[in-house]
């Protein structure tokens, strides 16, 4: 049962978290990941840390004590049942005890149910005994309502998961019968000590030899265990009439006690021990790593607790843009110029521009930029059209280039070469151009041509 509490507590926390929301686990997670890196111990340890917050300790205790109480009641019931069965089998001492009859009264039901249990164990869907199921049913009535309900469900789930349900029920069933048979044995011992019984067997048509063999067969096993057994002569003498002789009485009393012990109590005790062994083995084996969705999600939360997001310092200042500077109108000549940044698109459109417009080579690196600046310096145009691709992200390099161009022209506008939906960055361009004081970009080519024709 080493891992019963761990598994039970985990299951309870799991039910809680998967049926409502995540518990406040930040601290617990951090502690867990520092202690171990194995998944199952991590999950168990986390549950252990979170359980008190759920009141889980109390509810688990409630379930345990309810189970114990019900087992106790069942046990008391069994002892009373056994005592009365034992006494009833012997009857009042006025009449001689029919030994076979008495033995059947005590052993028939327990033996039959034991055989049934053994047979059912061999079947694939063994349940573990009717009595155990009855006990589970009673426990269900008590526990399936109120605060303990979830803890009880968790307990059942763990039992089911560990394939322990069958053995739990078996242990309860066998314990019940052990108590009953012990009660019966006690009744026999007390009765034989305090009352005077005589013994016999009876038959109408069977031969005496049958009883001799039967009684001897039954006593083989008790004899091994050291019980006194009646001899063949004694058995023959007790046929149909009781012999009130002290040695014979004692032999029969020993025979009865031995039979109940060896054929009733002992097999049950063995069955109980076997079941208890299998039960503890169910819980003692370490389960494989849980791999269900819940376990993986918890794992992820634990991993997150490990990750401290670190940064190299405060975020950099947003870019502060200087306003574009223009050439004073006096220094401008009445010429027009156009230049494209990082696109060859303008070359293809040269035809649509009048000859008066100087089309500069596209700028895309330091050399071409230097060349363009030199040319602009000598042209000193009144209008400069700067063509950019709306697909391009307006980065610092492009804006710096634009800011380097404007001091050589009287005025400048940006024409945005249209781009299709997904990568259209017109809005970003509008914002950035606004920031450097260049006004709205031109978005269609005819209006760009129109702007180039303006005079003032």
């Amino acid at each position: 049962m080493r891992y019963l509490d761990d598994a039970w507590r985990y299951e309870l926390v799991r039910l809680n978290e998967s049926e409502s929301t995540w518990l406040n686990d930040t601290l617990a997670n951090r502690e867990v990941v520092q202690q171990t890196d194995n998944r199952l111990p991590q999950l168990w340890r986390r549950a252990q840390l979170l359980a008190p917050g759920l009141g889980a300790v109390t509810t688990m205790q409630n379930v345990t004590s309810t189970l114990k109480a019900s087992a106790m009641i069942l046990g008391l019931l069994a002892i009373v049942l056994g005592l009365s069965a034992g006494l009833a089998a012997l009857g009042d001492s006025a009449e001689p005890v029919n030994v076979i009859w008495a033995l059947l009264a005590v052993l028939l039901v327990p033996t039959l149910s034991l055989l049934l249990w053994i047979v059912s164990c061999l079947l694939p869907q063994a349940k573990g005994g009717w009595l155990g199921q009855g006990w589970e049913w009673v426990a269900n009535r008590w526990l399936s309502r109120g605060k303990a309900a979830r803890a009880w469900r968790a307990w059942l789930n763990v039992a089911e998961e560990r394939q322990a349900t069958k053995w739990w029920l078996a242990v309860v069933t066998h314990s019940f019968w052990v108590a009953t048979l012990a009660g019966a044995l006690l009744a026999l011992l007390v009765a034989f000590s305090l009352r005077h019984y005589t013994f016999m067997w009876q038959t109408t048509w069977l031969e005496a030899a049958v009883f001799v063999e039967l009684a001897q067969a039954i006593s083989v096993f008790p004899a091994w265990l050291g019980f006194n057994v009646p001899e063949a002569q004694t058995i023959l003498m007790s046929g149909n009439q009781a012999v009130d002789q002290s040695t014979i009485r004692t032999q029969w009393a020993h025979w009865l006690v031995g039979a109940v012990f060896a054929w009733g109590l002992l097999p049950r005790l063995i069955a109980l021990i076997v079941s208890a062994y299998f039960l503890q083995r169910c819980y003692a084996s370490v389960q494989p790593q849980p791999k269900d969705a819940y376990a993986l999600l918890v794992q992820e939360r634990l991993q997150k607790a490990l990750k401290a997001i670190s940064v190299d310092g405060p975020p950099g200042q947003l870019d502060q843009w200087p306003q574009a500077v223009f050439l004073s109108p006096k220094k401008c000549r009445d010429t027009r110029a156009a230049v494209a940044l990082e696109t060859a698109w303008l070359e293809a459109r040269r035809a649509s521009l009048t000859d008066a417009v100087h089309v500069l080579a596209p700028i895309d690196d330091r050399v071409s930029r230097q060349e363009a600046l030199v040319q602009l310096q000598s042209l000193a145009p009144s209008h400069l059209l700067i063509v950019v691709d709306a697909q391009q992200t307006p980065d610092r390099g492009l804006l710096n280039t634009i800011l380097a161009l404007t001091p050589h022209t009287g005025r400048a506008r940006v024409y945005l070469k249209p781009a299709d939906g997904a990568r259209n960055r017109t809005v970003q361009w509008q914002d950035k151009l606004q920031a450097i004081g260049l006004g709205k970009p031109l978005l269609d080519w005819p209006s760009a041509l129109e702007w180039m024709k303006l005079h003032d």
Partner: protein, 463 residues
């Protein structure tokens, strides 16, 4: 292994090429950093660690974008030192030590400082962009840092992707190993691919990178197994659902509606769980972005369209689309006239998706009817969840667009073995108690396991 031993990888690139998006996908964290279609969204270096056995084994450093590499390259190229020939790293060190340059190129300074402290560089490019001189200058600067550079081709899944010019540019710089990794729809084994390729350029870190690759593969298969188990639980639970009510039209109608509501609720829970499992959350998306809103699919489970959407071909069975109405009508012939008319009318307008079940003798004697969820609805339910897994496995954590579950390009006939599926569902129907969320018997678990295996064989999930 302490943090000091961790492999440090700087993720760099021109501004707005999706560096932070790449990291979101790599760390499966939708909330990492800031993402926007604009220059300079990331303004500091941000670290994200990958753990191996609880220790940081690798740290990704997301850096601000390079914006003015032309000017920076010029600045560094003009550096001279008396009586000394400057090589690349010398120039970078001089740049990093120059306070004026550091002010002028504040963002670039952070990036290069990070590269110098890193073991390798992932150079992210947007392959929809043309290769420009500024990009070549960026590559020159990276080469000067003297660190292994692994180019990552982002947005390769786009129609406008032109990877070849980029590959040629890298080759000119002597870089022949690269990774195509679309951060929006990454390859399903993307993480492994990246670790494996990194192991090629970072020989000394190979064992760790191989371990990370194996870890990623394991995590991926565990995730899928958990998701399939969750779907199997859902199907078994819904199939087991049986409602027995008195045989009068109004009660029957109300019971059916209640049953439908319960199924929808269970599906919503499952969708939320699957999203969580794949580190997505429904509330991060607006209605148009995912076919699921608030954990609910836009097409109602009990509508005829759901079948088409799920790509199912429910052949002869009792209920495909319009046939469903007829089926219910035939059934209702055995009912009282009132119920029959009502069901017939209902079938005309909405598809019930709930079958009248050949109920037990007891129910018959008591004048009761038993209802359960139809085969077709169960199949739609399973197919939709499978498609969700498929979509989520191929979805990067940088994605903000709508998942296209209607994409029939990978259409593969039946989404799963329908015969085997229905066989298991038939078993589940024999156990009404399984519809209870508290039920976890062995036989139920066996059914869930069998269904899990049936769904795992789905061609939808074949890589």
């Amino acid at each position: 292994m302490t943090e000091a031993d961790a492999i440090r990888i700087a993720i760099v690139g021109h501004t707005n090429t999706g560096k932070t998006s790449l990291l979101r996908t790599l760390t499966r964290d939708r909330t990492f950093g800031k993402v926007a279609d604009s220059a300079g969204t990331t303004r500091h270096v941000q670290a994200a660690s990958v753990t191996l056995e609880n220790r940081d084994a690798l740290i990704w450093f997301d850096t601000p974008g390079l914006e003015d590499s032309i000017a920076l390259y010029d600045w560094a190229a003009q550096l001279t030192a008396p009586g000394q020939r400057l090589d690349g790293p010398d120039r970078i060190v001089q740049f990093l030590q120059d306070p004026q340059a550091s002010q002028r190129f504040e963002q670039e300074h952070r990036v290069l400082a990070q590269i110098i402290q890193s073991d390798a560089v992932l150079y992210v490019v947007d392959v929809r962009d043309a290769v420009l001189p500024k990009h070549r200058d960026e590559l020159h600067l990276l080469q000067w840092c003297a660190k292994p550079v692994l180019p990552v081709l982002n947005f390769t899944a786009s129609e406008q992707a032109h990877a070849q010019p980029w590959i040629e540019t890298f080759a000119r710089q002597g870089i022949h190993i690269y990774v195509a990794f679309d951060s929006v729809s990454p390859p399903s084994d993307g993480e492994q691919l990246l670790f494996d390729t990194l192991a090629q350029v970072l020989a000394q870190a190979r064992p760790t990178l191989q371990a990370l690759s194996q870890q990623a593969a394991k995590a991926k298969s565990e995730r899928r197994a958990a998701a399939l188990e969750r779907i199997a639980q859902l199907c078994v639970r819904v199939a087991a659902m049986t409602v027995t009510v008195a045989n009068d039209p109004q009660t029957v109608m109300a019971a059916q509606q209640e049953q439908q509501a319960r199924v929808r609720h269970l599906e919503r829970r499952c969708v939320t769980d699957l999203l969580a499992l794949y580190a997505f959350a429904p509330d991060d998306y607006t209605a148009s972005e995912l076919p699921v809103t608030d954990g609910r699919w836009q097409t109602d489970l009990f509508s005829k369209e759901a079948i088409t959407e799920a790509g199912l071909s429910v052949g002869k069975g009792a209920a495909v689309g319009a046939v469903a109405g007829v089926a219910i009508d035939v059934f209702s012939a055995g009912l009282t006239l009132g119920t029959g008319t009502l069901l017939g009318a209902a079938a005309g307008s909405i598809w019930q998706g709930v079958d009248r079940w050949g109920s037990g003798i007891k129910a018959k004697l008591l004048g009761q009817e038993a209802f359960r969820v139809g085969d077709d609805v169960l199949q739609v339910l399973a197919a939709r969840q499978l498609r969700l897994i498929q979509a989520l496995e191929r979805r990067g954590h940088a994605a903000s667009n709508r998942v296209n579950t209607q994409d029939k390009s990978g259409e593969v006939g039946e989404p799963f073995d329908q015969k085997a599926f229905l066989r298991i569902m038939a078993v589940a129907r024999l156990h009404p108690s399984w519809s209870d969320s508290t039920s976890t018997t062995r036989t139920q678990q066996t059914a869930v396991l069998a269904l899990h295996q049936c769904l795992a064989a789905s061609p939808l999930l074949a890589n």
